[in-house]
């Protein structure tokens, strides 16, 4: 079996994998990082979004071997170094941006990529960016609100939660 090595949340990891092992299975099964979810397995839902070399991608549709040498960040690597929630994560909590939480890791990882590229997105830009993330319970409105609030806070403005 071939071996794959990469950096996940700042830690060097290596493991034997099959050719067909998906990045998401490598993360969940080999590394036991189960925060990255599989909703559809077919590129629709975005529950599996992680960052590969800084870009958000759907880990259900990338081979682990294709990530050889890559820097991966998963939802487990998003909190502050002291373990407290990041601004973006806290905004989801404050603005009720989740209910069951199944889609949330993907939503947060996708939004984090957006805010890195665009510190001041419009509501429309947030909604368009979330095209590849489905949520079956929150209804998007509060998710969008949370992302806009996190963006504002990261720019040094403060928006009160309801």
């Amino acid at each position: 079996m071939p071996t794959v090595s990469m950096t996940v949340n700042g830690k060097a990891v290596a493991s034997d994998v099959e050719g067909r092992t998906l990045l998401v299975d490598f993360l969940r099964e080999n590394l036991r990082l189960t925060g990255t979810h599989v909703g559809c397995d077919t590129l629709q839902c975005g529950a599996c979004v992680v960052h590969v070399n800084g870009d958000s991608v759907k880990a259900c549709s990338m081979l682990a071997l294709s990530a050889e040498g890559a820097e991966i960040t998963t939802i487990e690597g998003i909190a502050n170094p002291d373990g407290s929630l990041s601004v973006l994560q806290r905004a989801f909590q404050d603005h009720h941006g989740l209910q069951c939480g199944f889609c949330t890791p993907g939503m947060v990882m996708s939004a984090a990529d957006l805010l890195k590229r665009n510190a001041n997105p419009s509501e429309r830009e947030v909604r368009e960016w979330l095209e590849g993330n489905l949520c079956r319970c929150t209804g998007y409105h509060n998710i969008v609100k949370a992302i806009l609030a996190a963006a504002a806070e990261m720019r040094g403005e403060k928006i009160a939660a309801e």
Partner: protein, 264 residues
């Protein structure tokens, strides 16, 4: 998904050599192929990953030609200031493919080599009259697309770049199928190399095509009214649960009108 051997060559020559193997299959971003393999509709013995090949990367504009490496991801083309400056409609098209995560993986080479009848890129390649560069030769867009999921690529031949002539004006209008985010009908209109071209994707059972009647009408009168007066036949158009052939034929005109208006 059935298992396979995986190789990631660093050069086009090594990739071509690896593709000589029995049931070897090239993979780029994998945003179509991985799903196909999960459904066991494809079962390569060896998967040849093209994403590590530096010579297939990069975008450059030179002497009225935009060269896009086959490995360029949709997000790179959409975000390229050079592409946006030279052919804004091409950057637009790339920026509307799929969703942000798909755009961070999917590549132009993969899209055109697959030639899905509803894919977006074939419309720009045909509409602009681009040249497809492979490891072996250069292929004119009109010869490259050969119908449903079929191209003139030989077994083991690899697309390395696409060269687009800079258009005087162009517009991409996509009527999106909201679940799949493919084109239900997408129209690429270009004024390029002295003619008006109208390339349509998503509509025909044969894949991307040029709408001759619309091109003729627009050549003498570049206006929405000219589009209105032309007729688009629904013969051979796709019938599925998203739309009838007549609906698609009508959409071809509607989207062409939008493109013409955007260019006027």
């Amino acid at each position: 998904m059935y298992n396979f051997d995986y190789v990631k060559p660093a050069s086009v020559a090594d990739a071509v050599a690896a593709l000589q193997g029995e049931d070897a299959q090239a993979i780029a971003g994998g945003q179509t192929l991985i799903a196909t393999m999960k459904q066991r509709l494809a079962q390569p013995r060896t998967l040849v990953d093209l994403t590590g090949i530096t010579e297939m990367q990069g975008i450059s504009v030179d002497g009225g030609v935009v060269s896009v490496g086959a490995g360029a991801r949709h997000a790179e083309v959409a975000g390229s200031a050079e592409v946006r400056g030279a052919i804004p409609a091409l950057a637009d098209l790339a920026g509307k493919i799929g969703d942000p995560q798909v755009r961070n993986r999917g590549t132009i080479g993969g899209s055109i080599a697959n030639n899905d009848p509803s894919a977006c890129y074939p419309a720009a390649v045909l509409g602009l009259g681009a040249t497809v560069v492979t490891n072996a030769r250069e292929i004119a867009a009109a010869d490259f697309f050969q119908g449903l999921y079929t191209t003139s690529l030989n077994e083991g031949e690899v697309v390395t770049a696409v060269k687009f002539p800079v258009a005087a004006a162009a517009s991409w209008q996509k009527f999106e199928q909201p679940a799949s985010r493919f084109s239900l009908v997408g129209v690429f209109v270009a004024k390029v190399e002295g003619e008006v071209r109208v390339a349509v994707t998503g509509a025909s059972e044969e894949g991307v095509f040029r709408a001759a009647a619309l091109e003729q009408a627009l050549a003498s009168d570049f206006s929405a009214a000219a589009v209105e007066g032309a007729s688009v036949s629904s013969a051979g158009m796709i019938a599925d649960l998203h739309g009838t052939p007549d609906y698609r034929a009508n959409l071809v005109k509607v989207m062409t009108k939008r493109a013409v208006e955007a260019m006027s």
